[in-house]
């Protein structure tokens, strides 16, 4: 009897909680779930990973082959990294599409962009850690792009030196990937979520959340079983693989880098980024959704089509 009363009390107190509505903030909650999985798998892999250039590859192989479920954790971590970037890009498009960056919420826009920046940096530092040849050369290629961008390159060389990978850089990548950036990501996620509206809990809220979590985990598992990442040979700074794949969000930038002269590329990149950051202060018209005005909708769709085309051309030029 007493237990029943306590359970009832608990349910009553649950009814008083205000939660984020699932339909309105679907993408954001998906990002949250994805990050939860990332934190869990990453934390578990820390138990076995040895942060050194010589033994990193060995310990990664050990995680994949010998540790129970290590194969799944490794591949889920990598696939989750790609999916989370896709979700954050979709979130940015959503903010533009519904013009959610308008006046009291400019800060939300900036926090989301900074979250994307941190997540892409997380990708960049993460792929070095297995010390696998293809990933190693991906990092080298991303560094080639980073070198040309004025302010970013000086920040990079303050933290990681002279665009050469050695043991000091490796241990720094490890520290940034597994401790520093996750803390920053948590802070920015908290700041983003504190901007959202809440509503009273529906009785099935946590059921829906659980179903969403399971579905997403299922998708990640399927991806990691059907398309696992190849960890084949140890890194070799003197042997380039025939094709170096870049992460999808860098393909448009890579396209720009190929076809523009060096200095123009860096400044253009900085200016474009700055314009995107101050978008809420540029666009001061009525906060209507973008599809209600034909001009802004056509500009938006043209912009997206251009980015996609640049990405596709960049892919074929890899």
């Amino acid at each position: 009897m007493r237990l029943k009363k306590e359970v009832e009390n608990c349910m009553l107190s649950l009814n008083k909680i205000n939660v984020f509505p699932l339909k309105k903030y679907f993408l954001e909650i998906l990002i949250l779930i994805n990050l939860l999985i990332q934190f869990l798998t990453g934390f578990l892999m820390l138990f076995y990973y040895i942060p050194s250039m010589e033994r990193g590859f060995e310990s990664t192989i050990f995680i994949i082959r010998d540790v129970p479920l290590g194969y799944y954790f490794f591949n889920i971590h990598l696939w989750g990294a790609i999916l989370i970037l896709i979700f954050v890009i979709l979130l940015i498009f959503k903010l533009i599409f519904y013009k959610l960056y308008h006046k009291p919420k400019e800060i939300l826009w900036i926090f989301t962009l900074i979250l994307f920046l941190f997540l892409s940096f997380q990708y960049f530092t993460g792929i070095l850690l297995p010390m696998e040849n293809n990933f190693y050369w991906q990092v080298e290629r991303i560094m080639e792009i980073l070198k040309e961008i004025p302010i970013l390159s000086s920040i990079y060389s303050f933290l990681f030196g002279n665009f050469i990978i050695n043991k000091f850089v490796h241990i720094r990548f490890y520290i940034f990937h597994s401790f520093l950036i996750p803390i920053f990501i948590l802070i920015f996620l908290f700041l983003i979520f504190s901007n959202f509206e809440r509503e009273k809990i529906s009785p099935f809220y946590f059921n829906y959340l659980f179903i969403l979590f399971l579905t997403f985990l299922g998708i990640l598992l399927t991806l990691s079983i059907l398309f696992p990442f190849k960890i084949s040979e140890i890194y070799d700074p003197f042997k380039t693989p025939t094709k170096i794949y870049l992460p999808f969000f860098l393909l448009p930038i890579y396209f720009l880098k190929i076809y523009l002269p060096k200095k123009i590329f860096g400044f253009l990149f900085l200016i474009l980024n700055f314009l995107i950051f101050i978008l809420p202060w540029i666009d001061k018209r009525k906060p209507l959704p973008i599809f209600k005005s034909k001009i802004s909708f056509s500009i938006f769709s043209l912009f997206i089509i251009l980015i996609f085309l640049a990405g596709i051309f960049g892919f074929f030029k890899l």
């Binding site: 080298e140 290629r141 080639e144 060389s157 303050f158 933290l159 990681f160 030196g161 002279n162 050469i164 050695n166 000091f168 850089v169 720094r172 700074p237 003197f238 042997k239 380039t240 025939t242 094709k243 170096i244």
Partner: protein, 140 residues
């Protein structure tokens, strides 16, 4: 200014300076140390070059600048083994006497000039010094 205000101002300034110093010391610890002098010498000694025949090349795995040491009739030539287009590591083609890039199919001749493919800038050439029986390549 009253004496009390002045004291408060001094107190705030001291705390501010202390915080700045704290942050500065952390940043100076984090800042990447200069390692180039210790890791990369200005001259590298090359071993095992005696058996090279004319037209053959030896790959010198140097982290700062991988090199090809090519034997020609008059002596040796040292050419950078990093493609000027996208920094891929090049391959020496003994049969056709040229240097190939595996990434985008660029071709360089033995002087380092681009013949085919996307790169426009020629490969760097380095000075080779012979002292007694030892051979050195001078990096800048």
């Amino acid at each position: 200014m009253k004496r009390r205000d002045f004291l408060i101002w001094i107190f705030k300034a001291t705390i501010g300076a202390w915080i700045l110093g704290f942050i500065g010391s952390i940043l100076s610890f984090i800042k990447f140390p200069k390692l180039e002098k210790e890791e990369f010498e200005k001259e590298i000694e090359i071993k095992g070059y005696e058996n090279l025949k004319i037209g053959e090349a030896k790959f010198v795995p140097n982290l700062k600048e991988p090199l090809f040491l090519i034997k020609i009739e008059k002596g040796f030539v040292a050419i950078s083994a990093v493609c000027t287009h996208m920094k891929c590591i090049l391959e020496y083609n003994f049969e056709n006497k040229r240097i190939d890039c595996p990434c985008h199919g660029a071709i360089f001749d033995l002087n380092g000039n681009p013949i085919e493919g996307p790169p426009r800038i020629p490969l760097k050439r380095y000075e080779v010094k012979e002292r007694g029986r030892k051979l050195y390549v001078v990096l800048e």
